[in-house]
Amino acid sequence: MIFDSYEAFRAANFKPKVCILGSGPAGTTIARKLGAAGIPVVVLEAGSREFSDESQDFYRGTTVGDFYFDLDITRLRFMGGSSNHWAGWCRVLDKQDFEPKAWAPDTGWPIRRADIEPYLPEVHDILELPDFRPDVPISDDIRWVQLIKSPAVRFAEKFADELDKSRNIAVVLNTYATELAGDGKRVTGARLWSNGQDAGSFSADYFIVCTGGLENSRLLLWSNQRSNGGVVPNATALGRYWMEHPTFEGGNAILADYGEFEVDAVNEAFFSPTLAAMERLQIMNFGIRLIETPYAGIKHVIADLACTAPDMAEWVAYQLSQNLRCAAQLYVAWEQAPLASNQIELSKTDVDHAGVPRIELHWKKSELERRTLVEGLKLFGTTLIEKDLGRVRLIDWIANGEDYPTNEETAGHHHMGGTRMGTDIARSVVDANCKVHGMDNLYIGGSSVFCTSGQANPTTTITALACRLGEHLSKVVAV
């Protein structure tokens, strides 16, 4: 059932056991799992069926620190969430991403990749993915990795019909949960805002917060403030360890033969470090994206090479004359070190129309990450030399040690951390089952539970974790 207003939902007198906040990939997946298990569930969605400026305005906020996207641009607030404009790149986090790393504090998950692997067949169906290919080692340091460019499933579009027909699932649009109330053991209700006004309180046996990787922290910080710690009793880590995938153009590669690596449908290939290389260089994970460059774009690179290594430039020029597909641009996206100081705070001065403080995002890239970027590109360059595959040139600002440019891709629109998973209540918000520490009936879905970000785009892992949480909850709720 889909209701366009909270009033219509109330009139239907549907009594859900579980209340999910947010209808993005996380919320929709958990709702479908619970619905399939015969558990009545309501999904409260702040936005409507379509994009609107009015709804989007609730997402405005500010950023302190490094340059970042406007917070109302980097996500979407309507049915289906940011899946309405995601690009569809898919890959599960690597096995090594779940392991603690001695050189990077606060890394390591309380679960392993094996814990989400059983859900990957479901994820493949949901996201319409072919099977993932195993990584291919290129050297001891670098592996070819697959990122699948999927059809970028729009969750609202794909599942609207199924949700509408479901007897167990009610999706209620235009219904904004402004805060949760709790007594330090249980969430007792959600305060709602609908039709431009307060719509009272709603209660259910279980609450699952799936409002996105920025909003999850905002909602819980505000709820906790209003209920004197009654919603997240152990809140030291709440809002903290927020992460993105910084993304910048890193330089160029000239290759003996572009066909040397497997490329995807758009002629791109991806490379990541091995765990051994990360350990040796004490860096984080990264992904180098090789994008084929047309001849016109590479001419100046060869001219530049001629100044440094003329014989090599001659060779490249020859290759170009034989084969016009031998040059590439390199884009690098990397894993951020989880830092408590990268955090979501509530603005002290700015509130939205419902009176909820807006986000003040504190975000800075660290020295460890700069090293990851530079060493990562050098590692790739060295691998190309060792394997006699080609050469790499670092882009000027990296080679010259200059600041990050502000006119580039910047990051992936991947909002991770803030309510991270863990066993230490001082450094995490949820346990291995995504249940908020100390609370009996409050769970969190989405990438805010990520402990580390790896280098892979998050939605495949979000969907796998959502399947796992849905399955876990269907057992818990059925008892």
Partner: protein, 60 residues
């Protein structure tokens, strides 16, 4: 694969014609100033010159 394939001088010259006057701008970099005798340098050593990640033997 050998990085330097056998190629005709003519085809190299043809390809280079399309590029800016390379030889005029040849700047021989001092990739390792401390190594005054290049004959002792390891040709496989990885060097970074003008942003390029190269093998010493790549350098002119």
């Amino acid at each position: 694969m050998s990085f330097f394939k056998k190629m005709s001088r003519r085809s190299i010259v043809q390809a280079l014609i399309a590029l800016p006057a390379l030889s005029l701008f040849r700047k021989l970099p001092d990739a390792n100033a401390s190594d005054s005798d290049p004959s002792h340098a390891d040709p496989n050593e990885i060097v970074e010159v003008n942003g390029w990640i190269l093998k010493r033997s790549d350098l002119a």
